[in-house]
Symmetry: C2
Subunit: 226 residues, 2 copies
């Protein structure tokens, strides 16, 4: 997938590898990340691995449970609610700013694409997720605020884990597409209030759906099944 493999540093590769492990669930919450062990597993020395661990810790994906042990951060319903609180704050602000500053034609084109998404097969859903990523990227570009973009980048990193924990239901996906279309159209018309409120509604519904699907399938990590 990575077109520009280029010459990544060992630290970058370790970060990407660990991040993927955490996001995919291969490294579950509470998993102990020991330096020598992970360095050996990834075929690098402790120095670049430490850098990767520090980056992950700065983003909150791993936590120092004690001065000597680093573990993959937990992510419970309270965390998800907290993530959506900051997400609401940042994305509503972004929507307002982008509506005022953005190139309207870009968002008009995106709105058209949201109108015709096909969610029947897996390929169509992947394309839909890619379209959302494009909307996010265009939003960041229109806002032109690196501080907001950086904070949102961290939030989105965490949200990948959330999305994996709570599989979207088909009817939710269709509604989500309609909500995204409305957001894009609001941005295309420069309607800051509508963009912000549509974002608020979308995030409310998304959180609702996620918390709902979490109560369906409890925690999935019932370790001691006696």
């Amino acid at each position: 997938m990575s077109i520009a493999a280029e010459r990544l540093t060992a630290s970058d590769r370790a970060y990407a590898e660990l991040l993927d492990g955490i996001q995919s669930g291969a490294l579950p919450a509470g998993f102990v990340l020991a330096e020598v062990e992970q360095a050996a597993r990834l075929g690098i020395s402790r120095t670049p691995l430490r850098e990767a661990l520090r980056r992950l810790a700065a983003e909150g994906l791993v936590v120092q449970q004690s001065p000597r042990v680093t573990v993959v951060a937990d992510l419970d319903a309270a965390d998800i609610r907290a993530l959506f609180e900051i997400r609401r704050a940042l994305e509503e602000t972004s929507a307002r700013l982008a509506a005022a500053r953005g190139d309207r034609s870009v968002f008009a084109a995106l709105a058209d694409q949201f109108a015709v998404v096909d969610l029947q097969d897996a390929a169509g859903r992947d394309a839909y997720y890619a379209l959302i990523a494009r909307l996010d990227a265009e939003l960041d570009a229109a806002v032109g605020n690196d501080y907001i973009a950086s904070a949102l980048r961290t939030v989105r990193t965490h949200l990948v884990r959330v999305r994996r924990m709570a599989r979207d239901k088909p009817e939710r996906l269709a509604a989500s597409a309609a909500e995204h279309r409305l957001i894009a159209r609001a941005l295309a018309s420069g309607d800051a209030d509508l963009a912000a409120h549509a974002t608020h509604v979308h995030l409310h519904n998304a959180l609702d759906s996620i918390l709902d699907s979490l109560t369906d399938l409890p925690t999935d990590s019932e370790g001691h099944s006696s």
Copy 2:
């Protein structure tokens, strides 16, 4: 000053030292931070210094100007506007959440203290800044959202530089105290809307004053005075 000096790691000391240098202006924007040079200056080796530089880079206080040279990040009027955009987003949200969740008596007590601040001498101003820090801390505690607290912590780190670039005028300080008092009182009464709007007004006025004082004394960094 640091009461609990404890046993800080060399990396932590390097981070604190460099952060203080950047915030105080001893390390001005554009200053090149070479690893061997700074490691020698701080009396540590390159490894912990690298960690400190990475932390500063993650927060945006230093930037990798090229693959081989790290410099202290610039901070112009556009950056300040951007900082206040994310600050508005996060603090208005915090105000709303704290108004709904916080311990009202705590903020009532803070409001009383904002009513009696003495801004005549330097000691009183220092006490005033400490009071603001206490309000921020109580706000974070009332919100109880580590993601927001972490994002705000980064923003506040940058704002220390801003505050130093733009000295507050006496009349602005008095108005600022009144605005803080209103915010605290809104939190004490659980009025989320008022808390959010008062925060908005306060940040608008603060930004206005800062940008004003910046145009007064141009850049202060006129390096080539021929």
